[in-house]
């Protein structure tokens, strides 16, 4: 749902008009076809993602349909968050590497 935020794919605001969306889509398709600028990626909450012509066309089509646009508006604009801090506790308590093998248990 939010991984392919069509507003992020097109690089437009949630409040963008249909005309602005179409113009941006055309511009991006032209840039992708010519391979100019930094159109090949777009920022997302999950970090930079590749932008393809298919993704641009799909995003524009999605936002052309009022129903789909309303759904997209609800979950658009997610921002990048800090990396999860789950590895820290285990890193603080290093174990005895290879303990089982070194004491004669399991495969050599």
């Amino acid at each position: 749902m939010t991984d392919d935020d069509p507003f992020a794919v097109l690089g437009v605001a949630v409040t963008a008009t249909t005309r602005e969306i179409e113009r941006e889509a055309q511009k991006l398709l032209a840039m992708l076809a010519l391979g100019v600028g930094d159109a090949g990626t777009y920022p997302s909450a999950a970090g930079p993602r590749p932008r393809t012509a298919e993704a641009v066309r799909a995003a524009a089509a999605q936002l052309r349909d009022p129903r789909q646009r309303l759904l997209a508006e609800l979950t658009a604009g997610a921002q990048a968050t800090a990396a999860p801090a789950s590895a820290a506790p285990t890193a603080a308590a290093p174990g005895w590497a290879d303990a089982l093998r070194r004491t004669g248990w399991g495969p050599r």
Binding site: D3, P66, Q79, P84, P89, A93, G104, W105
Partner: protein
């Protein structure tokens, strides 16, 4: 005569050492003294024979005494390291550390695991196990699984000894040492400390417990003298040296990092914050992130101004009123479905609340959890009821562990309230299974374990009829083999 008495005394000391960890070090030293006496006497006799010009007799005497008196040295120094499972099995019948009925299979499995548990060795060892699965059988399969490279299966099986009523001292001793080393390898020091009340002391477990207590800076950590003694009586002294000297862990600063707010929306806008929370929970699922996403969407969707604003927006986009209501409803349902999925997948506690987003997520997650359990129990019920649906006994045991763990993990987020709804399904399917194992397959240990678990769950949910039924079955004595 004197030798026979000394051998008996030594066997009794081995058993006493496994039973009482407070006397572990003195009993170990006493055992070392007795075995030292054996070896000194035999060497003196052999030397005398050599000097008298009877070297063949001296060699035969040495081999005989080694086999009868210190077979555990030969097992530990030769048979296990070289993976000689047959030699280990035969020597273990004279090993003072264990019972001749179960110890040989355990030692042979350990030897086979060193060579990767080849199928011929597995067949040879498992062919010597009794048909009725018991604690030793479970540990043998666990060791062989480790040999075959499946450490997770080995850990599950060895841990599962705690579910058996009388797993046997030999099985417990082997599982105890393996689990202690496995925990030390993973740096799971807390797990080691928690196991003190459950597992018998073995030389390495006893040392590793001291290391764990010290690393966690717990008040009951043994002093330096006690740690040194434990190190002295444990094997692998070179390898354990640095852990013995390791300082207590620093204050757990990492905990504060880990418990920091999982999601920190950068925007003040509630909708963007909710969208951000949803993405964060999907990217790195955790109970905290799922709960944060639910809370964020509650702020958005439960706001009385949200629905009129969405309907107005739908009208601005050109939707007629009927389509607008339907589309806005679908948008809300889509978000709820995503929150349900995240809540169930991350095993987050079900949100409290009788209205709005919390109630919808709670109901959706409950339904999903119960559906999942019901499907699993129906499948189990169908298999048990079908002739020919029987699995190899160790696989039946594995399935019980999976069903038990899956059930406990599934109902935990919803607490007793959810479990009251789920328990009857478990009761029906597992109750029939336990009866079939007891009556049809004579698998009394496994059946008793299932009944005991059902009894504990019935008490948890307050199901009086089930408590009485399983309590009665649980009181049945397991027949002798």
């Amino acid at each position: 005569m004197l030798l026979a008495l000394a051998l008996r005394a030594r066997a009794a000391l081995w058993r006493a050492r496994a039973a009482d960890r407070r006397r572990f070090v003195p009993l170990t030293l006493l055992l070392a003294f007795i075995e030292g006496g054996f070896v000194a006497s035999v060497l003196s006799l052999a030397l005398t024979l050599l000097l008298l010009g009877a070297p063949i007799t001296a060699l035969v005497l040495l081999a005989l005494i080694a086999w009868l008196v210190v077979p555990h040295w030969l097992i530990d120094a030769l048979a296990i390291p070289r993976g000689w499972h047959r030699a280990a099995w035969h020597l273990a019948r004279f090993d003072p550390r264990g019972d001749a009925a179960t110890w040989p299979s355990l030692v042979a499995a350990r030897a086979a695991a060193r060579t990767g548990a080849p199928s011929a060795a597995v067949a040879w060892i498992t062919g010597r196990l009794p048909a009725r699965l018991d604690g030793a059988g479970v540990v043998v399969h666990g060791l062989l699984a480790h040999g075959a490279g499946d450490r997770g299966d080995a850990r599950r099986l060895l841990h599962s000894l705690t579910a058996l009523q009388a797993p046997g001292v030999d099985a417990q001793v082997i599982a105890s040492e393996w689990l202690a080393l496995d925990a030390a390898e993973r740096g799971a020091w807390r797990e080691l400390v928690d196991g003190i009340a459950t597992w018998p002391a073995t030389p390495l477990r006893y040392l590793l417990e001291a290391v764990a207590l010290r690393r966690l800076a717990l008040p009951r950590a043994p002093g330096a003298a006690s740690r040194w003694l434990r190190w002295l009586v444990a094997p692998a002294r070179l390898a354990t040296w640095r852990y013995l000297r390791a300082a207590p862990a620093a204050a757990p600063a990492a905990t504060t990092t880990a418990t920091a707010a999982p999601v920190e929306p950068a925007s003040a806008d509630a909708r963007v914050a909710a969208a951000t929370a949803l993405v964060a929970a999907a990217q790195a699922p955790s109970p905290e992130r799922a709960a944060a996403a639910v809370a964020a969407w509650r702020d958005v969707l439960d706001d009385p101004a949200w629905l009129p604003a969405q309907l107005a927006r739908a009208a601005a986009l050109g939707l007629d009123p009927t389509a607008a209501v339907r589309t806005v409803g679908a948008a809300r349902d889509g978000v709820i479905a995503r929150l349900v999925q995240l809540t169930v997948a991350s095993r987050a506690p079900l949100p409290a609340g009788d209205v709005g987003v919390a109630a919808a997520v709670r109901a959706g997650a409950r339904a999903r959890i119960l559906d999942g359990l019901e499907v699993g129990f129906d499948r189990l019920h169908a298999r048990v009821a079908t002739d020919g649906g029987e699995l190899a006994m160790i696989d039946e045991w594995r399935e019980f562990l999976a069903v038990r763990d899956g059930y406990e993990a599934a109902v935990a987020p919803g607490g007793v309230e959810l479990e009251r709804v789920a328990f009857p399904h478990a009761d029906t399917a597992l109750g029939e299974w336990a009866v079939a194992l007891w009556n049809r397959r004579r698998q009394h240990h496994a059946s008793h374990a299932i009944t005991s678990w059902l009894f504990a769950r019935a008490r948890e949910v307050g199901d009086a009829a089930a408590v009485e039924h399983h309590g009665r079955n649980r009181a049945l004595a397991i027949p002798e083999a």
